[in-house]
């Protein structure tokens, strides 16, 4: 309904453009109400009524975004809260249209903006998994074929035929994730799915994205888990106030992002450093690094912390 199909050349996933995703001068504006929604009571107060009618102002969530994502690229999107990351993803997914500009998507696309979107508490996990797979863009045949594998991967066992209201939140997520990794479009849009779940869960996500790389899937990923971006993104863009501030190599862009964050907020800086240290330790365990090697990895963080402490004590 909300997308026009431009005819593709005969090939099944007809590659017609060098870019999987192309944005030209894309802007997105929302209209903010001055105060609250208008009610009859407001109409009786002329001053409030006047403010209501005239006080509507546009809010620019995305401002003139130009972006080209080649086929097969894994693109990370980072930025502070309210910088337009989710708006961008929703525009890319065709969920909300750009106010101006053009979005062009070349290939089948699927969006994972939420695990288990539309799960119904009263029906079984099996049935919910099937419907969720259809909502995620799978064909009926694909969904039916994938169902045994989805159920197996979720590890829910006999619970799969129980109504989902009996599930724990962990079971809920496991089923949602299990469906999500069976959705294999040419272009995959992912929002913060990595942020949920425990370490083992995140590791599974991580492995899934690595396998997507081998299948030449284009992945656009919004996340706060910046350490994972360093590991497997080809490119990272940073949004700020609806504009692309930095675009390029993951390590460089993330470095800039950390600078922006710490300029804004020393608490954020500390939190980030702690997160980075945790991730580095995890990596050290995974790659079997020695204590010396780990210490070396942590050195820049330690230096940063000392610098901050000095700055704070000097204040």
């Amino acid at each position: 309904m909300r997308f026009s199909r431009t005819p593709s050349s005969g090939t099944p996933h007809g590659v017609t453009s060098p870019f999987a995703v192309q944005l030209e001068h894309v802007s997105k504006q929302y209209t903010l109400d001055a105060t609250k929604p208008l009610t009859v009571r407001d109409m009786m107060k002329p001053r409030r009524f006047f403010r209501q009618v005239t006080g509507k102002r546009p809010f620019t969530a995305l401002n003139d975004i130009n972006l080209q994502v080649p086929h097969g690229q894994i693109l990370g999107i980072i930025g502070p809260n309210g910088s337009g990351k989710s708006s961008l993803l929703r525009v890319l997914a065709g969920i909300s249209p750009p106010t101006t500009g053009t979005v062009m998507i070349d290939g089948t696309y699927g969006a994972l903006l939420e695990l288990g979107a539309g799960f119904h508490p009263a029906v079984s996990g099996r049935q919910n998994a099937y419907i969720n797979a259809l909502f995620m863009g799978m064909s009926k045949e694909d969904a039916i074929n994938a169902l045994p594998s989805i159920i197996d991967f979720s590890g829910l066992g006999d619970f799969i035929d129980q109504p989902m209201r009996t599930y724990s939140s962990g079971m809920f997520l496991r089923l949602g994730f299990s469906v999500a990794i069976h959705v294999l479009p040419d272009i995959l849009l992912v929002d913060e799915v990595l942020a949920v779940g425990d370490a083992a869960f995140q590791e599974k996500c991580f492995n899934h994205f690595k396998s997507l790389r081998q299948q030449n899937t284009t992945v656009i990923l919004v996340t706060h888990n910046i350490d994972s971006l360093v590991d497997f993104a080809d490119r990272v863009i940073m949004l700020q106030r609806g504009e692309i501030k930095f675009d390029g190599d993951p390590v460089e862009v993330i470095g800039e992002y950390m600078k922006v964050l710490s300029n804004d907020n020393p608490i954020m800086q500390k939190a980030l450093r702690r997160g980075m240290a945790g991730n580095l330790v995890e990596r050290a365990l995974r790659e079997n690094l020695s204590a010396e090697e780990l210490s070396e990895l942590l050195e820049p963080l330690r230096a940063g912390a000392q610098a901050q402490e000095l700055a704070e004590s000097g204040r």
Partner: protein, 268 residues
């Protein structure tokens, strides 16, 4: 690939998600039909219990107490109540078709039209299942079977289905922007119940008030149901207001969704 920079914004994709809207419609309709009375002890019995209970109350109050003097009063009431319940149940549920699925609409891209349509299809399935029971009751009360049922019922079902599609799409869309519609519908449907020849026959309406019922586009439809089921009178040209209203509601409903549905995810 065409590279036009157009305002207003444009979204173009060379391939849509491979799932078909039809499969999704079937899946969520069947789910909602099963879920509606799941866990209820009487379960699907409620489908016939609701019109039947109201029928019994009206039969007692109008027939026995007020003694309105209508032949075969039970069959008279039920032949109109069953189609009416289909109508009002669907119209009322449709106002929540988008509003109640805000989370889905904000997070998943799919043809939104299937949400109101699934409400209509679900209601139609309910009516289809209860129809043989209604006919059984009618035959039991002494109504003769008519061969006109074979053509009349499909025609009326098709007309009411189309009417409900138009209304459901329009109401579901408008409710997103005008939240007052949900409580308003509640009152409107009660009003409409009394302005439709359900508890009284069209012929009993005094001439000076006939125009009120003529303005009600549902009246000819319900009247046609009763004439068909009780007397085997096939739908005829008197139905034109309902047909016209059906076409108008489809046009307006689809237009509303096209015009307003674009930004629905932002408005919810």
């Amino acid at each position: 690939m065409a590279t036009t920079t157009a305002a207003p914004g444009r979204f173009a994709a060379t391939a849509a998600p491979s799932s078909s809207a039809w499969d999704l419609l079937v899946a969520i309709t069947m789910r909602d039909v099963r879920v509606k009375y799941s866990g209820a002890f009487l379960s699907y019995f409620w489908w016939i219990a609701r019109p039947l209970l109201l029928g019994i109350v009206l039969y007692f109050a109008m027939g026995q107490v007020l003694d309105v003097g209508i032949d075969n009063h039970g069959a008279f009431l039920l032949s109109a109540l069953f189609p009416w319940f289909w109508f009002q149940g669907t119209v009322f549920s449709s106002s929540g078709a988008f509003l109640g699925n805000a989370g889905l609409i904000k997070k998943v891209q799919f043809p939104r039209i299937i949400l109101p349509l699934s409400v209509v299809v679900g209601g139609t399935i309910e009516f289809f299942v209860t129809l043989p029971i209604l006919i059984g009751i009618l035959l039991f009360t002494g109504v003769n079977p008519h061969w006109e049922w074979l053509i009349g019922i499909p025609i009326l079902v098709a007309l009411q289905f189309a009417l409900l599609c138009g209304l459901a799409i329009g109401i579901a869309t408008l409710t997103v922007y005008v939240r007052d519609l949900t409580p308003a519908l509640n009152s409107l449907l009660t009003l409409l119940f009394y302005l439709t020849p359900i508890i009284y026959p069209m012929s009993r309406v005094p001439d000076e008030y006939q125009w009120i019922l003529k303005l009600n586009p549902i009246a000819p439809l319900i009247e046609a149901w009763r004439q068909l089921l009780m007397f085997g009178e096939a739908p005829n040209v008197d139905m034109w207001p309902s047909v016209l209203f059906t076409i108008a509601s489809l046009a307006i409903g689809i237009y509303a969704l096209r015009a307003l549905g674009r930004n629905m995810a932002d408005a919810l």
